[in-house]
């Protein structure tokens, strides 16, 4: 099974090297593509200095477009699966083989690395409340039970790679999970733990959380009727 890890990177000079090195050491059979999304810092230098496999977007286009670049690469180089992997070191590469196994075994369209699947860790704080609300909305609109819809570590099968490369409006975000569960196939979760980010700044600051969550919830509801 040919697997590609797509690592979108925007101003991630601090943690990119550590993240990709640990990815390559833990899973040498998994190919890696870093998509530099028009970073203003030395992210691209880090890629070149280490000889990493990287694509460099000439302008900052956002996570969705950066990820789409990776999906197009995967489609053109005939990969069987793509795993969406954060550059900040939150995601642990050890779970990639587990996800791949599950993807094949279950014939799933997508596998999500969930922090909350076995129930030992509960979503907490403002983000936790938002996460529960999204879980509830997905259950309501699709019937699928997704314990961790905001997890950024997701693996996609061939059909999803094709879909992402060609779709007009498909973002690697929780609302897409709902759309996939309803229209394109099975969404499976595996239990995983995640680390605190190793450096740089998170996009999800408290002010943004409310904006992000309400946008996502509305999008899930709109998708239910329009897509």
């Amino acid at each position: 099974m040919k697997i590609l890890a797509v690592v979108p990177a925007y101003n991630e000079e601090e943690c990119l090297e550590g993240t990709v090195s640990s990815l390559q050491n833990t899973c040498p059979e998994v190919d890696c593509l870093i998509v530099n999304d028009g970073s203003k810092d030395s992210t691209w230098d880090v890629v070149r200095r280490n000889g990493f496999n990287g694509a460099c977007l000439p302008i900052n286009t956002g996570l969705t477009s950066a990820f789409k670049t990776g999906m197009k690469y995967a489609l053109r180089h005939d990969y069987d699966a793509v795993v969406q992997f954060d550059a900040d070191g939150q995601h642990l590469p050890a779970y990639i083989p587990v996800m791949a196994h599950e993807l094949e075994e279950q014939g799933a369209a997508m596998v999500i690395a969930s922090r909350y699947l076995d129930g030992t860790v509960k979503p907490s704080g403002a983000r936790g409340a938002g996460s529960r609300l999204i879980t509830f909305l997905i259950k309501l609109t699709t019937g699928a039970k997704i314990t961790d819809p905001t997890s950024g570590m997701r693996m996609y099968n061939r059909e999803m790679i094709r879909l992402f490369s060609t779709a007009f409006d498909l973002a690697p975000e929780p609302d897409m999970v709902a759309l996939v569960a309803r229209r394109y196939g099975k969404v499976v979760e595996i239990q995983a733990t995640m680390q605190e980010r190793q450096g740089g700044e998170s996009y999800l600051k408290l002010g943004n959380v409310i904006k992000y969550m309400s946008r996502t919830c509305l999008s899930i509801l709109m998708s239910r009727f329009l897509r």
């Binding site: 977007l57 286009t61 956002g62 789409k68």
Partner: protein, 119 residues
């Protein structure tokens, strides 16, 4: 009945708008195909200023309290529609720019893969 000085003001305003639009076209700041909307809008204002009875009769027949209410509503609807179509056009432009950026990034990779002898 619309006072004469207001009608003159309306005509002058519409003519001024026409001049502004024309100048932007000439300076290549807007495509002719996009300027058409504004030219037609200005022309409608001129017609309304010259024949205000058009708006008054139409408003009366549709049951509006006054012609100005009707004219305001019509303009607001028109502008909302214009803003919405602009939104759609911006969406499509965004997508196209992103698409181009992605293809540039991927094409650069292919370039590097082929010749092994860079420096």
């Amino acid at each position: 009945m619309l006072p004469v000085y207001l009608r003159v003001l309306l005509v002058l305003g519409a003519l001024f708008a026409l001049v502004v639009v024309g100048r932007q076209v000439k300076k290549e700041k807007i495509l002719v195909e996009d300027a058409v909307f504004w030219v037609v809008l200005a022309a409608i204002f001129v017609i309304l200023a010259v024949f205000p009875d058009l708006a008054i009769v139409l408003a009366h027949n549709l049951g509006f309290m006054s012609a100005s209410n009707f004219v305001y509503l019509a303009i607001i609807v028109l502008l909302l529609w214009k803003v919405f179509t602009n939104s759609g056009e911006i969406s499509r432009l965004k997508t196209k720019v992103n698409e181009l950026a992605q293809e540039i990034a991927l094409a650069h990779m292919d370039e590097k893969e082929k010749p092994e002898d860079d420096r």
